[in-house]
């Protein structure tokens, strides 16, 4: 179910990334102030944009979960937040490298963009422990959805608050202060698209793997004659949603 279109998506990601790297190193001109160091911009900013959008999307999917009570939305929200967190780690590391090269410091506490992103990251870092702390799968999914929605709402508020702050040391990319020349803007857009495709591919891989594992677990239970109800151990991962479809298929298809 989740594996549909995975091959096309993977190929599109590889093509987009190759194009993006070619544009970054052979097409985009060197920036007047920072020179070659500015090339980090094409990996750091797309990582940040995609991870923040992912956190927002996770919140929207959590709303859908609370509306429908369908565990599939919880699984999607979980996977997207999980992947966004990985991208956020990438953002922090590449940002630190850029800061060291550009400013001579790995981290600048007086810079609101850096600190606000760290706050968002630390906030979402508590998502997994929160899930793990609740044993009942239904309650876990509900609480995690509430967390994803409130944190998701915090992301744009945080973004706006930083924009309204007076310090403009950190370069602005989007909005009125943006004055990227044509080739740089094109390279940047392609880089964001490539990063978004990578994000979508990783999420799809994760969802497919989790769905397949859930199906296998259900199949094993069925063949071992353990009954239909899943034996749940404490875990941060959302409970299986493939159970019904698998048991139905096994009942019809696994007869000797």
């Amino acid at each position: 179910m989740y594996g549909k279109g995975l091959r096309t998506l993977s190929i599109a990601t590889v093509v987009a990334f190759a194009t993006s790297l070619a544009l970054v190193f052979f097409y985009a001109p060197l920036e007047a102030d920072q020179g070659f160091l500015q090339k980090i911009f094409y990996v750091h900013v797309p990582l940040a944009i995609v991870s923040l959008c992912g956190f927002l999307l996770g919140g929207l999917l959590a709303i859908q979960h609370l509306r429908t009570r369908d565990p599939r939305w919880d699984m999607r929200s979980y996977v997207i937040i999980h992947t966004s967190l990985i991208f956020a780690i990438g953002t922090l590391i590449t940002g630190s490298i850029w800061a060291k090269g550009s400013w001579g410091h790995w981290w600048v506490w007086s810079e609101p963009t850096l600190v606000s992103f760290l706050i968002v990251f630390l906030l979402y870092a508590t998502y997994q422990p929160l899930r793990f702390a609740i044993e009942d799968p239904e309650r876990q999914a509900r609480y995690a959805s509430v967390f994803a929605i409130t944190s998701g709402a915090f992301v744009p508020m945080n973004f706006i608050a930083v924009r309204l702050s007076t310090a403009y040391v950190h370069p602005r990319v989007l909005g009125g202060t943006s004055n990227l020349p044509g080739p740089m803007a094109l390279t940047f857009v392609v880089s964001v698209a490539a990063m978004a495709l990578l994000f979508a591919t990783l999420c799809k891989y994760e969802l497919t793997a989790k769905h397949t594992r859930a199906q296998m677990r259900a199949l094993r239970r069925r063949l071992a004659g353990e009954g239909d109800s899943p034996r749940r151990t404490r875990s941060a991962v959302p409970s299986s949603h493939a159970h019904g479809t698998v048991t139905a298929r096994v009942a019809g298809g696994a007869r000797p």
Binding site: I86, G101, S102, W103, V169, T212, R213, P256
Partner: protein
């Protein structure tokens, strides 16, 4: 002097920072692929076990069926 006024690094110094940033992304993807490969091999093992279970269930069902036939009155 503010942070924004710091002069640009020469290419030979900036190059290592740019390389490091792109390597970070590469490593993240590489770790992810490695984790996926581990999961895939675990899944393959699991599928093998399931296949064995299916064969066992099939054999038990077949033997039970033949016993039932033998014990049935002519």
């Amino acid at each position: 002097m503010t942070l924004a006024d710091v002069p640009a690094l020469p290419l030979h110094t900036a190059g290592k920072y740019v390389a490091a940033a792109y390597i970070v992304l590469f490593v993240i993807v590489l770790i992810y692929v490695a984790i996926m490969a581990l999961r895939l091999s675990r899944m393959e093992r699991g599928l093998g076990e399931l296949l064995e279970l299916t064969e066992q269930a099939g054999a038990e069902h077949a033997s039970g069926h033949s016993e039932h036939k033998e014990s049935a009155p002519a």
